[in-house]
């Protein structure tokens, strides 16, 4: 994929608009954050982009092709990890391949190659309840990646983790992304997380939710641990807080 575009999306529910005239775009290899308070309509926008929800107005395009209301193209990781308790990790992760019509053994074979890269080796035959929160999140992310290696929507992927696990996951995530170069749209309400992870940030606010500002995080990569206490980080944070 080269470019994912959502143009002038409006969604209403019960007569009132939830999001109004929202336009965002995602370029190849980018990590873009959607930042805003809870209830502003971030997840609604994701439901539209993933094809689960038909917008009242506007369209979603992938490389110029209209994919509005078409599920199964853009991969989507919902807020909870949603690993199925009755499937082993490898079967959970290979689910998108099986849904697409791959035979189970073949799907497992394809999937197993990625376990090392995602730091999941040894968990193949375990059940989700046997894994820690961080590991479960890794598995969910791998499942998302196997669904589409082109573009992923992540809805607050790290919000359920404790802050220490979370910052470890951030490091891990940036490292993995460097290798797999998955274009990603990511929802968060954590300002630090947004600045740390993304190349660009869309700030969403208001009722109905609109894009209020687009911020480009123009900093050399890779961003490391020290970055979070650097001066430029603080400046970005101050600026974002002033908008919100």
């Amino acid at each position: 994929m080269d470019k994912l575009v959502a143009n002038n999306i409006t969604v209403s529910y019960g007569g009132a608009n939830i999001i109004e005239d929202v336009s965002i775009e995602l370029n190849k290899g980018e990590i873009v954050c959607l930042l805003g308070v809870s209830g502003v309509g971030k997840t609604t926008l994701f439901n539209v982009i993933s094809g689960l929800l038909q917008p009242d107005e506007g369209r979603v395009e992938l490389d110029g092709k209209d994919i509005t209301g078409k599920a199964g193209i853009v991969s989507y990781m919902l807020q909870k990890d949603l690993l199925l308790p009755y499937k082993t990790i490898i079967d959970n992760v290979s689910l998108p391949l099986v849904i697409r019509g791959e035979k189970k053994p073949k799907a497992r074979e394809i999937t197993s190659k990625y376990f090392k890269e995602f730091g999941l080796e040894g968990t193949e035959k375990k059940y989700p309840y046997q894994l820690s929160g961080g590991m479960r999140q890794r598995a969910a992310l791998l499942r998302t990646y196997l669904f589409s290696d082109k573009v992923a929507l992540l809805d607050e992927p790290f919000s359920a983790l404790d802050s220490i696990t979370k910052s470890l996951m951030h490091e891990w995530y940036l490292q993995v992304m460097k290798q797999i170069k998955l274009s990603t749209l990511l929802i968060t309400h954590d300002i630090d997380e947004a600045i740390l992870l993304s190349d660009r940030i869309y700030i969403m606010a208001g009722k109905p939710g609109k894009i209020k500002e687009e911020i480009i995080i123009d900093l050399p990569k890779p961003k490391n641990k020290d970055f979070k206490v650097s001066e430029s980080f603080m400046e970005y944070k101050k600026y974002i807080l002033s908008i919100l």
Binding site: S50, A71, L78, Q79, L82, L84, P85, V98, Y127, Y129
Partner: protein
């Protein structure tokens, strides 16, 4: 030491109570406080069971064959009904009240009717078992289908899954524990219904045996067959539990 002792008592409490009741019963019967022809002692009952062992086994084979056949059909019917009711809201609305109604009719009351309609063969018996066993399965599965996490369904839909895939990957497996809870009830219902159906006629079966020994006032044999039937039910319920552990390994480890 004392703590250990109390711990043993705690774990064996139900067993101890049963033994105590048996001893009391033996005493009541042996001392003649209750006439022996009315209440045979536990030892008499065991003797009767041993004496008629091979006969009981032959009758049990008939009863169990019927019970399993009925249970199998009942389970299948319950499954189909649950799937249809879950799939079509109109089916849910129309079938549900009728289904509850079938369960308010006492088994003993419709059994003679079934015999009148279908004769003394196996058919009315199996029909009765089907009627009593499909319900817990259908209700259990329906409950399971309707409490599935909608987000898991959304996840699969986002992956492009169709309704059938949503069913096989999400709805059915997450309803399995509900299914087994229903099956546990149905399996004991199936034995009871099988026995009741045999009261009304036939040549073999524990129900037939029961009727015969009742008519000859052999109370010891009567008790023997009653206990035998509960033992069968218990063993079958244990079987369901083992089957559940086998089919749902994640659940056993979780609890």
């Amino acid at each position: 030491m004392k703590k250990k002792f109390l711990n043993i008592i705690d774990r064996a409490s139900s067993f101890i109570l049963i033994v105590a009741i048996l001893i009391l019963w033996q005493v009541l019967s042996a001392t003649g406080l209750v006439p022996k022809f009315m209440l045979p002692s536990p030892i008499d009952v065991v003797m009767a069971f041993v004496g008629d062992f091979s006969l009981l086994m032959r009758h049990a084979a008939t009863t169990l064959t019927q019970a399993f056949l009925g249970l199998a059909i009942g389970t299948l019917l319950g499954f189909v009904i649950a799937v249809v009711m879950d799939h079509y809201p109109i089916a849910y609305k129309s079938i549900y009240p009728l289904m509850v109604l079938t369960q308010t009719v006492p088994t003993v009351a419709i059994a003679p009717l079934l015999v009148l309609w279908m004769g003394y063969g196996m058919l009315p018996k199996v029909t009765l078992i089907v009627l009593t066993t499909f319900f817990p399965i259908a209700i259990g599965l329906l409950d399971g289908f309707q409490t599935v996490d909608p987000d898991s369904i959304n996840l699969l839909k986002a992956m492009g899954a169709n309704r059938f895939q949503c069913f096989t990957h999400i709805k059915f497996p997450s309803s399995l524990s509900h299914f087994f809870a229903g099956l546990k009830i149905s399996v004991s219902y199936s034995v009871v219904a099988s026995v009741i159906s045999e009261w009304l006629g036939g040549f073999y079966g524990l129900g037939v045996y029961m009727t015969r020994v009742r008519k000859s006032y052999s109370f010891d044999k009567m008790f023997a067959v009653i206990f035998f039937i509960s033992l069968i039910s218990l063993l079958l319920m244990l079987g369901v539990k083992l089957l559940k552990n086998l089919v749902m390994p994640w659940d056993k480890k979780q609890n």
